[in-house]
């Protein structure tokens, strides 16, 4: 079946219906090793649903999902920790897989929250918790990383650093990433493939192709399109300066 062994997950015309309402339908996408695929689209357009289809959380789907890996790291969009369960950051890191202490420390250091290792999960701020979620997902060295708005609530400088980290992880671990993001700058700089959703795939392709697409303009407005196309110029500039982001 798997002619190209770089493929991690493949959705064929997949869709999910909940009580007679289609949350998303007709999505085809492929996630390969070392590649970042980004889903963009307005609220309720089926981004998280698509991610959950790819992860196999939704079972009764239309179409099909082919999954060629079991080493998965997932950062869900919403997660609430019940106060009845006493759990420290350290325990949370070990939640789905047994990992060596050194790997835990490394992941927490990368996302800048090593000092919170023995804190109770319930006492963290929103941004701190997101950093822990990302650390947990990457510490198990997954082949497939699914990140559903991973930097929500993170401060601006932290956001840039985390996106750089995500890009770096995709390169060093050679893992495939499915990213859901509202940050169009991020989409432009790091993504290999963009899929614009609105209950169905409205357009897809390289970031620049999508930015020029008329359906994308209708969905996000002319201004968003300008952000992406002008960013292409900034992107070149940043590159020649070897990562001096602040200077653009």
């Amino acid at each position: 079946m798997n002619s190209n062994n770089n493929i991690l997950v493949k959705l064929n015309n997949a869709g999910f219906r909940q009580s007679e309402k289609w949350l998303v339908e007709g999505v085809s996408l492929t996630i390969e090793k070392g590649k970042i695929v980004t889903l963009i689209g307005p609220n309720g357009s089926g981004k998280s649903t698509t991610a959950k289809i790819a992860l196999g959380i939704y079972k009764n789907i239309e179409g099909s999902v082919e999954k060629y890996t079991t080493k998965v790291g997932y950062v869900p969009q919403k997660i609430s920790i019940d106060w009845t369960l006493p759990i420290r950051v350290y325990d949370f890191m070990l939640l789905t897989e047994t990992i060596e202490d050194s790997a835990i420390d490394e992941a927490l250091s990368l996302t800048g929250v090593i000092h919170l290792k023995n804190k109770n999960l319930g006492s963290l701020s929103g941004g701190e918790f997101q950093r822990v979620l990302i650390a947990r997902a990457i510490s198990k060295k997954p082949e497939l990383l699914v990140l559903d708005e991973p930097v929500q609530g993170v401060d601006y400088t932290g956001e840039i650093a985390l996106y750089e980290l995500i890009k770096k992880i995709s390169d060093t671990l050679n893992c495939g990433i499915l990213l859901i993001s509202h940050d169009l700058h991020m989409v432009m700089t790091a993504t290999d493939h963009v899929i614009c959703l609105n209950g169905h795939v409205c357009c897809s392709g390289s970031p620049l192709d999508v930015a020029k697409n008329n359906e994308y303009k209708a969905l996000f407005g002319e201004k968003a399109s300008q952000i992406l196309t002008t960013y292409e110029h900034k992107h070149d500039h940043v590159h020649s300066d070897k990562g001096e982001i602040k200077k653009n």
Partner: protein
């Protein structure tokens, strides 16, 4: 050594506390206390079945409780009633049916109080065997499903996405609940089993900062409750179940002081 009824009761209680400690933590974390109650109420039906068909009480209670648990899952899928209404329906109707059946069994003398609140005199050497082997099996299975069960308690979708099969863990846990009720019914009584599950776990929550510690303290709390409760039951000639639960309550109240301290420290 097991000739003395009190020694038998003590060993039975200790065996039960080792099992209700960890299971009780999951009951608290997953908000299953009313579910535990429902299974316990249905145990009366199991006891009557044991008498009429001449079966082992623990096995018969285990079977009936498992059936009730399966019935609940089916009703949840097929009706639009909320979970607590379904639990109430099953709990009280199975208790009522059990009592009605007892009414028909005029040829057997039932110790209703013993069934409801536990009776330490009733613990036999056979019961000890059932408690310790059954308890060991329950703990081994719980150890095997610990990771998926804990992960899905924190977040179901995370566990499912990362391949831990939370549905299977949940189904197995339901069976473990039926099993723990089956082995502890004689000792604690069907009205108070949920107390044995919840109160030591609640006490442990007040003094723990990790899941493992909470399980450990919950076991210790359960053991202390059994020992204190049984000695006072002997001393004051009270039923064993209420005495154990009352001892657990005292430990819970003591644990509240620990919370107060930690709040003071934070301020």
């Amino acid at each position: 050594m097991f000739d003395d009824f009190f020694i038998r009761a003590l060993f039975a209680g200790i065996g039960i506390a080792f099992v209700t400690g960890p299971l009780g933590c999951f009951v608290v974390w997953r908000r299953l206390s009313y579910f535990g109650d429902t299974l316990a109420h249905s145990a009366l039906l199991g006891v009557t079945m044991a008498y009429t068909l001449d079966l082992n009480i623990a096995i018969s209670v285990f079977l009936i409780s498992s059936i009730i648990a399966l019935l609940l899952i089916q009703l949840q899928k097929r009706t639009n009633l909320p979970g607590d209404a379904l639990l109430g329906l099953l709990a009280h109707s199975s208790l009522a049916v059990g009592l009605v059946v007892i009414g028909f069994l005029t040829f057997i003398r039932f110790d209703i109080m013993g069934l409801l609140f536990g009776d330490i005199l009733a613990v036999t050497t056979d019961d000890l065997f059932v408690i310790w082997t059954g308890g060991a099996l329950i703990l081994i299975v719980l150890k095997l499903i610990w990771k998926p069960l804990l992960a899905s308690t924190v977040n179901y979708e995370l566990a499912e996405a990362e391949g831990l099969n939370p549905d299977r863990a949940k189904a197995i846990f339901t069976i473990l609940m039926a099993a723990v009720i089956a082995i502890s019914i004689k000792m604690v009584g069907l009205l108070l089993i949920t107390g044995m599950l919840i109160i030591p776990a609640a006490m442990a929550r007040n003094i723990s900062d990790s899941p493992q510690k909470m399980v450990l303290f919950s076991i210790i709390g359960g053991l202390l409750s059994v020992i204190l409760g049984l000695y006072s039951s002997l001393e004051f000639n009270t039923s064993s179940g209420p005495s154990i639960i009352a001892a657990a309550l005292i430990l819970f109240i003591l644990s509240l002081f620990k919370i107060k301290q930690s709040i003071k420290l934070k301020n």
